[in-house]
Amino acid sequence: MRIVDVWMQHPTRRFLEQPFFESLRRWTRQDSIPEVPLSLTIETMDRAGVEVGLVAAWWGPQGALIDNDEVASFVRQQPHRLFGVASVDLTRPMEAVRELRRCVRELGFRGLRIAPWLWGQTSSSSCEGAAPGR
């Protein structure tokens, strides 16, 4: 079976430095954060029999931990194995729409990922709720 994993991140160092990875770092006894080569992500897919991965950018209130151009560069390096999924700044909706257009039209991305919990929202909240001052 040619398995597709639709929910992946190829981690940048900025991403792995986030507090939500602290327990993982303790568990693997790593004090410093390693740079993860793209080949490691591909090998992990190979071992599980995953043929294609959708790798998402990660944009939260603190900024882009994996930006869309970084995702595009991962996809360019592995065009038969990876497809890009965009992430945008929900507090700046006009720029977010422009960035999404750029990601789809110029970078060939396949989707947009919104993680409401990252913005202090529930999965049932409206997009308006993400705007500051509402």
Partner: protein
């Protein structure tokens, strides 16, 4: 569709319990592959 949230979880571990779901071959094929390929238009890629 199948998604792991890698690197938080590894696909090999996520797939371990697959057979216990008893989805049947057709549903399993859609879950692990076909649905995602259709929705995200992966076959049309260059």
């Amino acid at each position: 569709m199948f998604g792991t949230n890698y690197p938080m979880l590894m696909a090999s571990a996520c797939l371990e319990g697959m057979e216990s779901l008893e989805l049947g071959e057709e549903a399993k094929q859609r879950f692990l592959s076909d649905n995602a390929r259709r929705v995200f238009k992966l076959e049309e890629a260059g």
